[in-house]
């Protein structure tokens, strides 16, 4: 037993012997929990996950003997946890609308019983290693939960439960490790959140994650097992982009970490996801979603922990062989929590008050993404997508600039685009993806061989148009040749007909890869044909006034992804329109029309 010496906001100094750095500590009469972040002789510095109001020097402190860990087992899916994995619905039952302090609740419900199907190929005396599967539980309609041997345990089976109904706490098997120690295996195990879960080896990520968002999938793709960031000033639509990914991504599991963000946004997910169906499985989205919520008004230290809690759960499902996407909104709030703690510890700040270890912590976090060969021998992946909230929209600030060096996919959101209600406001000049070549193989195989060329052409038109509009802003449109003016029209067509995608438009909220490609292809067909018409002397205005031009801009919200054939049919209509114009100007009809 130790005692509290000093209380400075969430940082509490205690006198406590034989405590290890990183261990959890319970302090005071209220029973607040925190973790040791520094040791000095018999004094330990503890960051406390809850408000320390009312705590006094002299009150007791005791070590819990283990670092911050999460419970991993059935009952995670569809749940909502706080930053230290306490289930919020349970807290609601215990302490009402507001979160009380010092409440201990197990992360996984101890009463719920699950139907466990034991792996029939296992028998007494078999050798099990960490990460092996001993059976399954159907967690939700679509998620089969593989019960894993904890990664740090291996040995010989000495007891082996049959299939049946079990609670997470029931022992379902026992293994004897080489040192003779007998380990109880339950439906769940614990794992410390700051230690990445082990795997057999890394596997090169090779398949794009399809989010159904054209500007993301087609222009700046991310792979399953990749790392991405969404930086943007407030109001640029970061949360919308993240929610769209959580909604539509073709991953098996989505973990949404609301880290220091708005309470109502999480409620939006909580209320809307059960109603939405996953386009890939046809089931409710909530069946494959887990929320970790530490809203901005919740204690700041738990915010720091929340992204580790999220990523550890993500790794756990990866180890079962699933493709997991974790979105963290926002990593800036996590970095600020780091800053707040370091500031209270009196550590020397380097940039904008952030501690010197910001960059290494960030890169270590993102490194937990990846596609791996799991310990059980199959493939799984964790894709990490972090929102970044740069103060004042300044991308040169520390969190954004460090993140930019770490992630291969960078979706930069622009205030100007958002102000013009061009959503998603992903800026095509500042964004990048290092995965384009790998993604191109998939697109070429699955959708169309010309994907890479079409994508490159569209980006070239957009960037050319940006240069030209600078000229227009200086000297006016009269200075441009008809060809140049057509470039501007072409870019507008790509922006309005392809890039812009409304999250609230039921028809267009999700676009299949085929729909994405067809829209891009039509825009570029019109663009290419337009150039030919201009050579024939057709005025730009006359082409722009073609009814199919206006119809193309609305096409995305007329046909759903299932109606891709109709989009293709529209393409023929466009060609016909253009061909008529061509004939009008004395050129022969094109044979294919």
């Amino acid at each position: 037993m130790g005692e509290i010496i000093d209380i400075n906001g969430p940082i509490v100094t205690v006198r406590l012997e034989r405590v290890r750095n990183g261990d959890q500590v319970k302090i005071g009469r209220i029973g607040l929990v925190g973790e040791v972040i520094g040791l000095d002789g018999d004094r330990a510095v503890v960051q406390v996950y809850e408000s320390t109001e009312g705590a006094r020097p002299g009150e007791a402190a005791e070590s819990l003997g283990h670092p911050l860990s999460v419970e991993l087992g059935p009952g995670l899916m569809g749940n909502i946890f706080d930053g230290v994995q306490r289930p919020l619905p349970e807290l609601l039952k215990i302490s009402g609308d507001q979160i009380g302090r010092g409440i201990e609740v197990p992360s996984l419900n101890r009463e719920t019983s699950w139907r466990f199907e034991a792996d029939s190929s296992l028998s007494m005396g078999d050798r099990l290693t960490g990460g092996a599967v001993i059976g399954t539980v159907q967690e939700t309609e679509i998620i089969k939960h593989h019960i894993l041997v904890p990664p740090d345990i291996s040995g010989e089976i000495v007891e082996h439960g049959a299939s049946g109904e079990y609670t997470v706490d029931d022992v379902i098997a026992r293994v004897k490790s080489d040192d003779g120690h007998i380990h109880d295996l339950r439906l769940f195990h614990r794992w410390p959140v700051r230690t990445p879960r082990p795997y057999e080896g890394r596997n090169h990520a090779a398949v794009p994650l399809i989010t159904g968002q054209r500007v993301l999938d087609t222009f700046f793709p991310i792979l399953k097992g990749g790392k991405g960031a969404v930086p943007g000033p407030f109001g640029a639509g970061k949360t919308m982009v993240q929610q769209q990914i959580a909604r539509w991504a073709n991953a098996d599991i989505v973990i949404y970490v609301g880290c220091g963000e708005r309470g109502n946004e999480l409620v939006d997910i909580l209320e809307s996801f059960p109603e939405l169906t996953d386009p890939h499985t046809g089931r409710s989205l909530m069946e494959r979603t887990l929320l970790v919520a530490n809203t901005s008004n919740m204690p700041v230290v738990a915010r720091e922990a929340s992204i580790y809690v999220g990523v550890t759960i993500a790794e756990y499902y990866r180890d079962q062989g699933y493709d997991v996407v974790m979105v963290a909104d926002s990593t800036s709030r996590w970095a600020e929590a780091l800053r707040e703690v370091s500031g209270r510890l009196g550590q020397m700040p380097v940039e904008e008050g952030y501690p010197a270890y910001l960059a290494s912590r960030l890169s270590a976090f993102y490194e937990r993404a990846g596609r791996v060969e799991t310990l059980r021998g199959n493939l799984g992946s964790v894709t990490l997508i972090g929102a970044v909230s740069p103060p004042g929209g300044d991308f040169s600030e520390p969190v954004t600039s460090h993140t930019k060096e770490i992630v291969p996919t960078f979706w930069a959101l622009s205030k100007e685009l958002a102000d013009a209600r061009h959503y998603p406001a992903v800026d095509w000049l500042d964004s990048f993806s290092g995965y384009v070549d790998t993604a191109a193989h998939w697109w070429s195989r699955e959708v169309d061989p010309t994907w890479a060329a079409r994508r490159a052409q569209a980006l070239a038109v957009l960037s050319q148009a940006d240069d030209l509009s600078r000229i227009v802003n200086l000297v006016g449109p009269e200075a441009l040749s008809p060809t140049q003016r057509w470039v501007l029209e072409g870019a507008a067509l790509i922006k309005e007909g392809v890039l812009q995608q409304s999250a609230i438009d039921e028809v267009d909220s999700y676009a299949s890869p085929r729909k994405q490609f067809l829209l891009l292809d039509i825009a570029l067909c019109i663009y290419d044909e337009g150039h030919k018409l201009i050579e024939l002397g057709v005025p730009v205005e006359q082409i722009s006034r073609l009814p199919s031009m206006a119809r193309f801009r609305r096409l995305k919200s007329v046909y759903t992804s299932e109606q891709a054939d109709d989009i293709d049919a529209f393409n023929r209509q466009v060609k016909k329109d253009i061909d008529e114009l061509r004939v009008e100007y004395g050129a022969p009809r094109e044979a294919e029309a």
Partner: protein, 477 residues
């Protein structure tokens, strides 16, 4: 209650008082500091150990003689006494009456810091509030339980706008019990008086609770004031089932007070000297808005803040924007053209709009009309920019139409009278009138059906008509 007083002040710096040798004091406890002349000041413990206790004194430590300073530790946090009697009353930041009437006596006392609302207890805000102001209702709709700040600058009519919203705000469906909590931090006497008269003349004074800290009142009290005000709001909303509109003005003064204390404490500054925890601190206040399951009341919040040098990237508006559900930005340019309310449309936003409007709430075309107005106005501003370079005569016909659209939009849609209470249908009608000046093929945010139903392309329009009658400022070109 331990009524023991200690006379062990070791140091006083700014608003901070360092007490030595007081053991076992709880963090956050309320302190009464009495000086040589018998004057009492209130304070709060912000850091505690057995050696030193750090007390933040809300009235400041000026004039304290350390040897003759007594500190009494009340063994309880800052609490606000609550009863239905608070309606119609005026309090200071610490909850003391400011209206020469007796203090509230009640057994119900609440810690002003509150506790974080469990996200699982929240209900998503969806009920459209009609404010009668086109730029808000039409483009940045406010819903019950939302926090929507006004970003303003010195000399801009944010107070008039806030007062107009308080006056006109109503739900389309039903009338329910409503009340207003008005929290003024560091405002001038004139501004405070303006609101009081507004509440009086619109007859809502009986439903208003005011917490007032004037510009010459102790600045540290501003740190406590919004917390006290929100505690009152939570009581009204969740225990008396009222729909509460909280007006917090001016958040910039609040943040400055926070910076003052942080600097005195020696906290590591992040940007512009503001402490790294400014975000979390503001969030503690703003996140107290909202709706809660199975509670009939709600808290809708309208913080007003003046952007230092009109800079929206300044930490105060910037961090506020990251927490609140949108923002209404006022523009000096529109103000100088005599347009009231001078709402700068492009940077203004309401994040909760999408679920509170449309067929079931306002009208089916509303979401698309809003998007179309935004897009068309953005395009118009480009045209205007171009016109300033090459002259309006050189513009294409399409661009000239856009130029006209911008003009009409600012004068007729944005501009309206201070007493003009437009219904959402009126707002949408003005919108379509303006959009009818643009050719249908330029409008791709609305559907074909919308165009057929509402768009009147080719209808002759008299430019003279575009000036709104009744708004004095508009005709002054």
């Amino acid at each position: 209650m331990r009524e023991k007083e200690f006379r062990m002040a070791a140091a006083a710096r700014g608003a901070l008082l360092y007490m030595k040798g007081v053991r076992g004091v709880a963090l956050g406890d309320r302190v009464v500091v009495r000086d040589q002349s018998g004057r009492r000041r209130s304070g709060q413990v912000i850091r505690t150990s057995n050696e030193v206790v750090l007390v933040q004194v809300f009235e400041g430590t000026e004039g304290l003689d350390l040897d003759q300073t007594w500190a009494g530790f009340l063994e309880k946090p800052f609490e606000l006494s609550l009863s239905p009697e608070i309606l119609g009353r005026v309090f200071s930041g610490t909850g003391a009456p400011r209206d020469d009437r007796p203090p509230i006596i009640s057994t119900l006392k609440r810690n002003v810091n509150g506790a974080p609302v469990n996200p699982a207890a929240r209900t998503y805000p969806k009920e459209f509030i009609q404010t009668g102001i086109s730029t808000i209702d039409g483009l940045n709709s406010l819903v019950r339980g939302q926090k929507l700040p006004i970003f303003s600058g010195s000399g801009l009519p944010h107070n008039r706008l806030a007062a107009q919203i308080v006056r006109q705000a109503k739900l389309l469906s039903q009338e329910a019990d409503f009340s207003v909590v008005f929290a003024a931090m560091g405002v001038s006497y004139t501004d405070a008086r303006f609101f009081e008269e507004e509440f009086e003349s619109s007859g809502v004074l009986r439903n208003v609770v005011m917490f007032i800290n004037l510009a010459d009142d102790p600045p540290m009290e501003r740190l406590l004031l919004p917390r006290a005000a929100l505690t009152a709001a939570e009581y009204l909303a969740y225990e008396l089932d009222q729909h509460v509109l909280v007006v917090l003005t001016d958040m910039t003064n609040y943040a400055e007070a926070l910076r003052e204390v942080a600097t005195a404490k020696g906290d590591v500054p992040a940007r512009k000297g503001y402490p790294g925890y400014l975000y979390s601190d503001l969030a503690e206040l703003y996140e107290r808005a909202g709706r809660i399951h199975e509670r009939h009341g709600s808290i809708t919040m309208m913080p007003v803040l003046s952007m230092p040098s009109d800079d929206i990237t300044h930490p105060i508006p910037d961090l506020t924007g990251y927490i609140t559900e949108g923002q209404i930005v006022l523009s000096r340019e529109l103000q100088s053209q005599g347009i009231y309310p001078p709402v700068n449309v492009p940077p203004s936003l309401s994040r909760l709009m999408k679920d509170g409007i449309g067929a079931d709430f306002t009208r089916e075309d509303h979401p698309r009309v809003a998007a179309q107005l935004y897009a068309a106005y953005a395009r118009s501003l480009e045209a205007r920019n171009l016109a300033s370079i090459i002259g309006a005569e050189e513009l294409s016909e399409r661009d000239r139409r856009y130029l006209e659209f911008a003009e009409g939009f600012e004068k007729r849609f944005v501009g309206q009278g201070e007493d003009e209470d437009r219904s959402i249908i009126e707002t949408l009608e003005i919108a379509w009138e303006l959009l009818s000046g643009l050719p249908p093929e330029a409008l791709n945010r609305v559907t074909e059906e919308d165009l057929q139903k509402y768009h009147q392309w080719g209808r002759a329009r008299d430019p003279e008509e575009t000036a709104t009658a009744g708004d004095a400022g508009v005709n002054g070109d």
